[in-house]
Symmetry: C2
């Protein structure tokens, strides 16, 4: 079901497997970054992002910049907060620590609200924290790629509602690197102010693009800054006019975009939007539940212990005590599937991660998920593991 050369199936929580047509777009012949044909493709790409975020507010703004997902943190920290501002970082794993580091780089004071591994801060604690101090913004990792914890659908909109009620000036910032494209996000309806993500996860385009989306309120907050933005390459001042021009089909230059990556993103977004988003999210959820049932049937536990906190695009699985990550992963590779090791510092050696996003889910004919489950079952058995009843 794929025209690509034989290769192990990549089932880590990003980069994911890519569709043939998307990879084909990566080889697009060279075009001027300010020529009409490419400008039209970039314009359509930005318009499609509005649809992906289910946003119709013309004051909102998509940004697509050459970079990694990590660049999204700089975009938030250098533009939406000012030196000396307090921000509240909800901690669910590795990525909150790094986001907090990023804020500190720009002189912004980050307060982390922590939760035990595999859990997430709860609304009453968040309400308490919001009442104690004035926070310029709050960040939440929608899906923590290190733990597979989802700050899930209903809770994300409830969280936003809480912030708007208790601290109405605080911006709601979502790290959606591992959620955009596989978890429902209704940007306008939920009252979000920023979602940052990357190309290589559920959006299904090779790595190399920082993709983010901002509310009119976030843009106004940027325009009202008393100090200039703290970064040059990540400055809204430099990028907003460029993105607005591209979307209006006017050539514009600050830094040279990557036409090949933009073509690939255009192809993947066209595919994503070819069916209702609700179908896409439902399919990711159904497949995720199938995988999680298989994991439970094997007698294994997830890091995200509460079913309501489990991501739909990845699963983080504790290994049995006698099975070691550096033994199991090469065995799975021999069976033709690539899983990821652990990432959360404190327990990295004790678990593995399986990504299930994008074409591996939407194109069932590939058989990627079945292959992964079977490999895991056989691999564990070969490692001497037997389920205890």
């Amino acid at each position: 079901m794929s025209n690509q050369p034989a290769h192990p199936t990549l089932l880590i929580p990003g980069p994911i497997e890519f569709d043939d047509a998307v990879l084909q777009s990566m080889s697009h012949y060279s075009e001027s970054h300010v020529g009409a044909p490419f400008v039209a493709v970039f314009s359509e790409t930005l318009s499609m992002l509005r649809k992906l975020f289910q946003s119709t507010d013309p004051a909102s703004q998509p940004l697509v910049i050459s970079g990694s997902g990590t660049l999204g943190w700089d975009l938030v920290a250098a533009n939406l907060a000012e030196p000396g501002d307090d921000v509240l970082v909800l901690h669910t794993g590795y990525f909150a620590d790094s986001f907090a580091d990023c804020f500190e780089t720009y002189g912004v004071k980050a307060t982390q609200l922590k939760a035990p591994i595999g859990e997430r801060p709860q609304l009453p604690e968040i309400e308490k924290a919001l009442k104690e101090k004035k926070y310029k913004l709050l960040t939440v990792t929608h899906v923590d790629t290190s733990t597979g914890v989802l700050s899930e659908l209903q809770k994300l909109s409830e969280l936003s509602e809480l912030v708007h009620r208790v601290s109405p000036d605080t911006l709601v910032v979502v790290d959606g690197v591992c959620s955009v494209g596989c978890e429902e996000i209704e940007f306008d309806k939920w009252g979000l102010d920023a979602v940052i993500t990357a190309s290589q996860k559920a959006i299904g385009c090779p790595a190399g693009l920082s993709i983010s989306y901002y509310s009119g309120r976030a843009i106004e907050s940027f325009k009202a800054r008393k100090t200039p933005p703290g970064s040059y390459f990540a400055s809204f001042k430099n990028w907003l006019p460029i993105m607005q021009n591209y979307e209006a089909k006017k050539p514009s230059y600050f830094a040279t975009p990557s036409p090949q990556l933009i073509h690939a993103l255009h192809t993947s977004l066209t595919q994503i939007l070819s069916i209702p988003l609700s179908e896409r999210f439902a399919k990711h959820k159904a497949t995720s539940q199938k995988i999680k049932k298989a994991v439970a049937d094997l007698g294994l536990k997830q890091l995200a212990s509460n079913p309501a906190d489990q991501a739909n695009g990845m699963t983080a699985i504790y290994l049995p005590e006698n099975v070691k990550v550096p033994d199991l992963l090469p065995n799975l590779l021999q069976k033709g599937v690539i899983f990821a090791g652990g990432l959360h510092k404190e327990i990295a050696t004790k678990y593995i991660r399986l990504g299930h996003m994008g074409v591996s889910i939407m194109n069932e004919g590939r058989g990627d998920v079945e292959k992964a489950i079977e490999a895991l079952e056989v691999g564990l058995r070969e490692a001497g593991y037997e389920r205890k009843e």
Copy 2:
């Protein structure tokens, strides 16, 4: 001579036309960014960059990061200078202004040494400036993409020698975005401390990678900082261990690299290094002279009036008074070649730019250069221009 679909030949000063094999590498199937096969490719890519810079000093350090060439300015400004430091920016056009802006973003005081359009600051003025104030670093745009001015071979090594003699603690920083891969650079021998560039020009790999190279002295200067780096995404602190690990074939993670772009860069560097670099530079120079002769034969003038200041990978050409850029460029496009318009603010409407780098030069069978010259001749004639003797 190319397997690509028919398309207008892109002859702007970047992005350039790409070789078939390079574009093919862009479609590489998905790989883990921390898996052994990709890590080996990244390692070889970093080693090849050392050769491209003709550098053998093990203390030097290549960086390859997802981003645009512009990100190189942040890498320099946020790591090699500290807030309050003075830096000297040699001005040859558009790009010096922007680099200076970037320094100011990070609290670094940029003094610009300006020259008339089409010229460049001369050594005696530079010596005078270096004696007047202590500069943390000096920046020079090796080839200014806005004007086609080259701070050329002999002068760049002479400039470096001058800095080392007059102000030995001052780092020598080269903006090589439009020079690396088509103009000679001997990093170690010339005593350079940093060269920043991008993938889509003479290196011949699609846009999306910031490529830069630092001396051991520059790295030591970073390590001796009294303040932390001013950027998170562009922080040496975050990137140096990652690049050192990748080169040593150890998986490492700070931000997800783009495997497809790294594969394409690997292919283009392999091609570049398949013949002696001196041959490559000589061929660019010979073709450039042919183009410049054709321009002179047409009775047209270059922005870079002094032959010793003319870049070998691009030519910026004043149009005759009665020929307008917005009329000529579409006419050239109809003839199947894409030239660029002017970029230097003060005279943008008066000139056009022709890029001649990479595969269009090295693969003569493509006939790109002949096609460009012929299109320009016919296009000007059709616009009513006749050479006055």
